[in-house]
């Protein structure tokens, strides 16, 4: 029994979601090995070696693996799959891209976005935008699983696993990376932040998000958005929280000018405390909010910024 966890990283650093995925992988029982695939990824491999409970780190370092594109990643993982009975990754856009390709090459079904591990073969996952929870059991020879990392506790970082280089098989050259346009921000990452401040259609413009950013900076929070705000072009796509965007579960989620469509609720209703600020008192967001404030956000948000200053934030 051993599990291969595919690390999420940017070559120099391990992404925090990998720690949460490792926390989940430990629940499967058996050894956990971490695969760091990338180009010049020694930094990320060192990070992976520190994950508590990980017994080995496999490093596949090749230029074609730089951006973890699906075709070379799948070829690599399939070449290593023989030693493992579970292959898991965080349900990031990377994991969601290459994992089904791996599953199909291994001729096994995949279980996506697992939110709870009942036993090593039985899992819970949200369906219908989180409006139902499916308990699913697999008897596949190899399990291919993606994990909704917000549902799991992060593993510690007091480990010292051995790092081992693995040789890469012939990697298909079907796709080529051209460029990327990444949102630069000094704020915490949306899926890892302890506090998230999100804006919706009610923000009326991208410029108005500056108000939310000022509140977020006082709280050390990330800034998110509803689909409506992204579709309207107020903020980039990577801000989107919801069924098809990111799932978040911070200690505090502040929804500003968000009506609360079920597709949005799907991505944030596991937050510990939810605050809603909306001028429409009938907005569905109030049905899931712990604290609701019926107010015009254009007066409430600047006030909030000031009040936070008053308590020393």
């Amino acid at each position: 029994m051993a599990t291969l966890l595919i690390a999420e990283h940017n070559n120099t650093e391990l992404n925090e979601v990998t720690l949460k995925a490792a926390g989940a992988a430990a629940q499967l029982g058996g050894e956990v090995h971490v695969l760091v695939a990338g180009s010049g990824c020694a930094g990320a491999a060192e990070g992976a070696a520190k994950i508590s409970g990980v017994s080995k780190v496999l490093v596949a370092d090749a230029p074609q693996l730089d951006k973890m594109l699906a075709e070379p990643m799948a070829a690599l993982v399939v070449s290593l799959a023989g030693n493992y009975d579970a292959i898991v990754s965080a349900a990031t856009t990377n994991g969601k891209n290459f994992m089904p390709r791996i599953a199909a090459l291994l001729d096994v079904s995949q279980i996506s976005e697992i939110s709870a591990i009942i036993d090593s073969n039985t899992f819970e996952r949200p369906i219908y935008a989180g409006n139902a929870i499916q308990t699913v059991q697999t008897s596949e020879a190899k399990k291919v699983l993606t994990l909704r990392t917000t549902a799991f506790q992060a593993a510690g970082t007091d480990g010292s696993a051995a790092i081992e280089n693995v040789s890469t098989p012939d990697l298909p050259a079907l796709s080529n990376f051209v460029s990327e346009e990444l949102t630069k921000s000094d704020r915490p990452e949306l899926t890892a932040a302890k506090i998230v401040v999100s804006g919706g259609r009610g923000m009326q413009s991208g410029d108005n998000f500056a108000m939310l950013e000022r509140v977020a900076d006082k709280l050390g929070a990330a800034v998110g958005a509803s689909r409506a705000a992204v579709d309207a072009g107020f903020v980039p796509n990577d801000y989107q929280v919801g069924q098809t965007g990111k799932a978040v579960a911070p200690d505090l989620y502040i929804a500003v000018g968000i009506s609360g469509a079920i597709q949005h609720l799907a991505g944030m209703k596991d937050s510990k405390v939810i605050v809603a600020i909306n001028k429409d008192e009938e907005a569905p967001i109030f049905q899931v909010a712990d604290y609701g404030l019926v107010a015009d956000l254009f007066t409430a948000v600047p006030e909030l910024e000031q009040e936070l200053g008053n308590i020393g934030l």
Binding site: A74, A104, V108, I127, A132, T135, S175, L182, V294
Partner: protein
């Protein structure tokens, strides 16, 4: 270039679903069904490629019950040329769907297959990637823009950190994200015309694919319900409650 667009009939995205009391699944009786929204975006993109003179024929496929015929008609009314219905009442898993689609792709030889990135019922987000694997083709998932230049396909992808641009060798698989386009409504004349477009009927066994499920659904339950909390009157009351009652800062 021929374009193949697999589509799925799902519970309409506006419907608030109900879990069956016996926990065997979601109640689909007398519920409004529609084309999966991401599949609509996929069909729209194919139609735009045809309008741009790039796509020569658009074939839509649906694997599902006989009512999926209506979903195919919707796609035909949007501008697709012909349909294939693979008729089954069984709930096939993404791997089985991908195997059927592979067999169809082997017959039809499209240059491009566009799918929705996920269906809003199972939320699996697997079929396109699995199909790409089985065909040995490149994949451009979560597309927010595609450009075809000869046999070079450029895809702009929505990724966690922002946007990524990749170039793919064709034939290729693209999965549509929300912002790829805004699907059109079919006009009445086009709806009438669609009634005369051909739909070929098949069954999974025609393709030699075993669609028996590999996974066992133990149960389907309601998620834990959140109770609505309290309304606060002022921002200072809100901050005081968050600090003293919720203890979040």
């Amino acid at each position: 270039m021929k374009v193949l667009v697999p589509i799925k009939r799902v519970v309409d995205y506006n419907v608030k679903i109900r879990v069956k009391p016996d926990q065997t699944g979601v109640d689909l009786a007398n519920v409004k069904m529609s084309m999966n929204p991401f599949c609509e975006i996929a069909v729209e993109e194919a139609v735009r490629l045809q309008e741009a003179g790039i796509a020569t024929e658009i074939v839509v496929v649906s694997i599902g019950p006989s009512q999926a015929q209506e979903t195919l008609r919707t796609a035909l009314a949007m501008g697709a040329d012909r349909g294939i219905l693979v008729n089954t009442d069984a709930e096939a898993e993404p791997l089985a769907i991908a195997k059927i689609l592979k067999a169809i792709a082997d017959e039809e030889q499209p240059g491009l297959i566009i799918l929705g990135k996920q269906a809003i019922d199972g939320d699996n987000n697997q079929t396109g990637q699995m199909l790409a694997a089985l065909l040995g083709w490149s994949q451009g998932t979560y597309a927010s823009e595609i450009k075809l230049d000869g046999d070079q396909l450029t895809v702009i992808r929505e990724i966690d950190g922002g946007l990524q641009t990749i170039k793919l060798a064709t034939p290729s698989i693209v999965t549509a994200d929300l912002r790829l386009n805004e699907p059109r409504y079919a006009s009445l004349p086009n709806i009438m015309k669609a009634k005369k477009k051909p739909i070929d009927e098949k069954s999974p066994s025609d393709f030699g694919v075993d669609i028996a499920p590999r996974l066992k659904i133990v149960k389907v339950t309601e998620p834990a319900q959140r109770e609505a909390g309290v309304k606060v009157e002022t921002v200072s009351e809100l901050v005081s409650k968050l600090k003293n009652e919720a203890g979040v800062f």
